[in-house]
């Protein structure tokens, strides 16, 4: 019998209680939220449980929600895939805006290594017990985490793109 999403929900709720919430079917992917404190345990359970068997970590990435309350300003999203029953799931772990920290998944999946480094590089989310948590795509000297929403794509203070220098403002003379 193929693995049903109701079984996934039931098993996770039985094991972790209210630490796993918000079960919802989003398009073709079953999604839920996992408390960041148990992210590693939940992933291990999803991977090693003989019924669930989510044997493949498809993707790890971060999201910034600056408008949320402090405790939910960052999220790490994990996509997992059970190849036996061909079910994909996605879960989010919300993190504190001042101190985004979560346990690394490198003890469960070797492939989490670079994906977590990328997430750290972009969002400054710290993965505890990561073997080599340093920037990967940006240069080491960078002091900001560029995918955070507070960093606009271009520096608004650039004078070479100031509209005044191109006659694009009506009161050009007085500006």
């Amino acid at each position: 019998m193929a693995l049903d999403t109701a079984i996934i929900q039931e098993k996770l709720s039985d094991k972790f209680g209210d630490k796993v919430t918000g079960f919802i079917q989003q398009k073709d992917i079953f999604s839920f939220e996992v408390d960041a404190e148990i992210s590693n345990d939940a992933m291990r359970f999803l991977k090693e449980d003989p019924v669930l068997r989510f044997n493949f970590l498809t993707d790890v990435c971060g999201i910034h929600y600056p408008d949320n309350e402090k405790e939910r300003q960052f999220a790490v999203v994990y996509h997992m895939h059970n190849w036996f029953d061909n079910i994909r799931i996605k879960f989010k772990c919300f993190l504190n805006g001042d101190n985004p920290e979560i346990e690394s998944a490198t003890n469960l999946f070797l492939g989490a290594n670079w994906q977590e480094r990328e997430t750290y590089d972009f969002y400054g989310i710290v993965f505890k017990n990561h073997p080599q948590l340093k920037r990967i795509l940006n240069m080491d000297e960078m002091t900001v985490f560029p995918m955070r929403k507070e960093y606009p794509l271009e520096d608004g203070g650039r004078t070479d793109k100031d509209d005044r220098f191109f006659g694009r403002v009506t009161d050009n003379a007085t500006n």
Partner: protein, 411 residues
């Protein structure tokens, strides 16, 4: 100033200091890349060498990082397609199609059967082009230039097909939300037909040049192997995973664009070494040809795009002659008709494996978050594990057979 010229001490420096051989020889660091012909892209491998044997390695990437995800957050949905083109540029139409399909999933758009078949043909042609490059360059890296020269012209033929369909060759920006810009001309079908006629004999000759070639076999068998368990743990997909013996293929597991209508095999290897990766790609080219033939034979009649005027750009001749169409074109391109609030993940079988698009929209004209699951980025981290204990020349062959495309690695 002198401080700037001194490189920071690498962790291997201590290892070199600690281990000095009795005969006076010592370990050394070798920088393979960032710009070396054998790396086929800009990424550096810092290798700890004992003579010609690799003891350890560390990959450094990000040299052509272009912040695609950040740019995508600031662009309307139509304007993101050129970004996807520039990831795996060897098979860019697959990236385009994957992106459109992600949007169509977000918008609940059902595309006509004809469009799905046309997309399958394009995606399989792109896969063939990708495999042509990878396998023929593997020949070059192991000392055989002939095969490369021989088959490369057929990549050009595939580009000519793209050109006939959309006017572009490498970064095609092909398609629209819901279908294609225009129906394919008889000339396009003729070019595909000619390709299907000519290419198999060339590919047979290419295979006979290398597959049982003693030197090539010596250079690739047992070189850069990876076990199935480890490949899976690293997140391998595509030909590199299948070479290790796991028949995971997104086209079969999560069919999209009517792949379930076609009969094809998923070639798998056994040992996960360089030779298996080569053979799996060779076999996949045959399967792709099989799929294209079936798609051509079974090509349904019907429209070449879905009826979604809110998202499908008006025909160009109307845009130039009709004010309403011009306004509508502008509104669509500038994202005035936004994608509703949703979250989707869509994966396609790219040239290198599972290419995934994770899209979060908030109802505005740009994505709230768009993450590309790039197969190259995920499996390149295994490279140092694969070459540990091997010779330097083996690292070159391994790197080549992994088909790491820097554009996709860095994004």
């Amino acid at each position: 100033m002198s401080d700037l010229l001194l490189p920071p001490e690498h962790r291997y420096a201590k290892m070199i200091e600690a281990k000095k051989n009795d005969d006076g020889s010592e370990l050394s660091i070798l920088n393979l890349g960032p710009t070396h012909p054998a790396t086929h892209g800009i990424f550096q491998n810092i290798l700890l060498m004992d003579g010609e044997r690799i003891l350890d390695g560390e990959g450094t990437v990000g040299y052509i990082h272009r912040a695609f995800e950040k740019i995508a957050e600031n662009r309307p949905f139509y304007q993101i397609t050129p970004l996807t083109d520039r990831m795996n540029y060897c098979s860019s139409p697959i990236n385009n199609m994957g992106w459109w399909m992600t949007l169509e999933k977000a918008l609940d758009i059902e595309v006509p059967k004809r469009v799905q078949y046309m997309r399958v043909i394009i995606m399989e042609l792109a896969r063939i082009a990708d495999h042509i490059i990878c396998n023929s360059v593997l020949g070059v890296d192991t000392g055989a230039l002939t095969g490369f020269l021989y088959v490369f012209q057929y990549r050009e033929k595939i580009y000519e097909i793209y050109e006939e369909i959309c006017g572009a060759r490498l970064t095609t920006n092909m398609g629209r939300i819901g279908g294609f810009e225009r129906d394919w001309s008889p000339a396009a079908f003729k070019k595909i037909h000619d390709f299907l006629e000519e290419f198999p004999s060339i590919w047979t000759e290419f295979e006979s040049l290398l597959t049982r070639n003693r030197i090539f076999m010596d250079r690739t068998i047992d070189v850069g192997p990876i076990s199935a368990e480890k490949a899976m743990s690293y997140g391998f997909t595509g030909p590199n995973l299948r070479a290790a013996g796991i028949d995971y293929d997104v086209r079969v597991m999560s069919p999209y664009s009517s792949y379930e209508d076609f009969e094809f095999d998923v070639p798998v290897g056994k040992s996960g070494d360089t030779y298996d990766r080569f053979c799996v790609r060779n076999a996949e080219v045959w399967e792709s040809l099989k799929i294209i033939r079936q798609a051509i034979d079974k090509m349904p009649e019907g429209p070449f795009h879905a009826n979604v005027p809110d998202y499908y750009l008006p025909p160009k001749e109307e845009v130039y002659n009709n004010m309403e169409a011009l306004i509508y074109h502008f509104k669509i391109v500038m994202g005035e008709v936004p994608v509703p609030k949703t979250e989707v993940y869509h994966a396609v079988e790219g040239g290198n494996g599972e290419l995934g698009f994770y899209l979060i929209t908030d109802g505005s004209r740009t994505p709230y978050r768009l993450h590309f699951r790039r197969p190259c980025f995920i499996y390149y981290q295994a490279f140092n594990d694969m070459v540990r204990g091997q010779m330097l020349s083996d690292a070159i062959a391994t790197l080549s057979s992994l088909n790491v495309i820097a554009g996709e690695l860095d994004a």
